[in-house]
């Protein structure tokens, strides 16, 4: 709680500094800043799924070079921590020059609920990325990668798909394993999963970041291959809606 307060105070200071910078820049040149202008954003994330929770969400506005993940490439260790255990701290620490909103839902974002964050972007941080682990999955996450923030004021809305980090076998066994490299799913927050699964698969043959193929689940909560319920824990894309208001 104290950490969050501290972050809030820091954020307020950042807004003031940005405003000062912006007004100085305006005096210097009105044409030069049009490409790199600081912006005030309201960002809403909606969990569109019926039975999947999102762990703490990382929202970042960053430069054109930064990417939190790349489809078709091996996940970074930082992305793996987020995708397997919901821990966004290492990914966030990587983003030294980005403007960030961390964990706006103050914990889990339940199915069919929304959370919002305000973000003041600094000059040059013109791309938006959003990630959060999906529970219960082994290493599934929602991913918005490098969305160009429009310079024109307005409300922009789009949907986001589910990715698989490619770092852990989708065994669908709820073991509490959330540490990188530890097998299994950390938890099923809806408390509607089972036990006693023998494991859907023990291998992850595609070790690159890819679109998640979805949970399989089964109809036996005390046995079968999976600990997940096939009528509750599946999904179809898209899994999230992001609404960005550029003020």
């Amino acid at each position: 709680m104290n950490m969050l307060l501290l972050q809030a105070v820091k954020k307020t200071k950042k807004i003031k500094n940005t405003a000062l910078l912006l007004s100085t820049a305006l005096l210097l040149s009105t044409t030069a800043i049009s490409q790199v202008q600081a912006q005030e954003l309201d960002i809403k994330v909606t969990n569109l799924t019926q039975g999947i929770y999102f762990t703490p969400i990382l929202i970042a506005a960053h430069d054109s070079e930064t990417q939190l993940f790349k489809s078709g490439e091996i996940a970074s260790a930082e992305l793996q921590m987020m995708a397997e255990g919901g821990d966004i701290s290492a990914l966030s620490a990587m983003l030294t020059t980005a403007d960030k909103a961390e964990n706006p839902a103050m914990g889990l974002l339940a199915p069919a609920t929304s959370t919002s964050a305000m973000l003041s972007t600094m000059d040059g941080n013109m791309y938006l990325s959003v990630v959060a682990m999906m529970l219960p999955t082994n290493d599934g996450f929602i991913g918005l990668n490098r969305w160009k923030i429009p310079s024109e004021a307005g409300t922009y809305s789009f949907t986001v798909n589910a990715y698989d980090a490619g770092t852990e076998a989708n065994d669908e066994m709820i073991t509490g394993g959330g540490a990188p490299g530890a097998a299994g799913i950390p938890a099923a927050p809806g408390m509607n999963a089972g036990t006693g699964g023998t494991g859907v698969t023990m291998t992850e043959d595609n070790t690159y970041v890819h679109i998640h193929r979805g949970n399989l689940g089964d109809d036996d909560l005390t046995a079968g291959k999976s600990d997940l319920d096939n009528t509750v824990h599946r999904w179809l894309n898209p899994v999230a809606r992001i609404t960005v208001t550029v003020n």
Partner: protein, 243 residues
């Protein structure tokens, strides 16, 4: 996903300018006459295509409205939407208070089939033109899946212009996805499936649908087969303003 064709905008503008000129030149000689307000009609032709393999769509409900939404992800389904999503009956949706004008499709829209449905609204005050278009229909071989369009802005659509889009599928959250024969109103329920039931035994919030499981994919009690599986999108829709 949305494409707008703007070729007639200029023609409309020219027509407006011409009629304005004609009015002003003869205006001084006209006797004051107590004319009734002219009737204005906006008409739309809607082409709906069922993109699924084996999910018939219940009779399509089309509505023109100026406010409200048929559903909101994260909020409870209205009783009217619950009825449509569980039984396929669109009567309550078409009778919602916000509806300026509503139209139903003629019957089930079978997989692979298209239907053209016209909907019009006639009014007198030029400020009352319909601003939004919505559409809803049930995937009948499910517990409570529906698809449609929610409050599409049509206020800038000129005559001859059209908007094309595809739709995703939603779960009304009002009936658990048991897939039991007794709960499926479509053909897969073999006539024994219950439609509407006021009990809400699921999450009671509208969300996106997770797809059906089926007996072929691990739900032994399911009345559905691999053929009833679907993915997004489930409908293709083109809305053209014709008047």
């Amino acid at each position: 996903m949305i494409s707008i064709n703007k070729k007639l905008a200029l023609v409309t503008l020219t027509t407006l300018m011409l009629s304005a000129c004609g009015g002003s030149s003869s205006g001084s000689n006209m006797m004051p006459v107590d004319m009734p307000d002219p009737m204005i009609t906006y008409s739309y032709q809607v082409t709906v295509t069922n993109l699924t393999y084996a999910q018939p769509m219940s009779p399509i409900a089309l509505i023109l409205h100026n406010e409200g939404q048929l559903w909101t992800v994260g909020e409870m389904a209205s009783a009217a939407l619950e009825n449509l999503a569980e039984s396929g009956d669109n009567a309550d949706v078409l009778a919602e208070a916000m509806v300026l004008s509503g139209q139903s499709g003629t019957g089930l829209l079978l997989p692979g089939m298209s239907e053209v449905i016209d909907v019009s609204y006639t009014f007198t005050d030029v400020n009352n033109a319909p601003m939004m278009f919505s559409l809803a229909t049930m995937l009948v071989n499910t517990n409570d899946a529906f698809t449609g369009i929610n409050a599409l802005a049509i206020n800038n659509l000129a005559i001859g212009e059209s908007i094309s889009l595809t739709t995703s599928s939603y779960d009304s959250g009002t009936e658990k996805n048991s897939e039991l024969m007794a709960t499926i109103p479509g053909p897969a329920g073999e006539g024994s499936g219950e439609g509407f039931n006021a009990e809400r035994d699921d999450i009671d919030k509208v969300a996106m649908h997770s797809g059906i499981v089926s007996v072929d994919d691990g739900l032994m009690v399911s009345a559905l087969t691999q053929a009833h599986r679907f993915d997004n999108p489930t409908l293709a829709v083109m809305v053209t303003r014709t008047e």
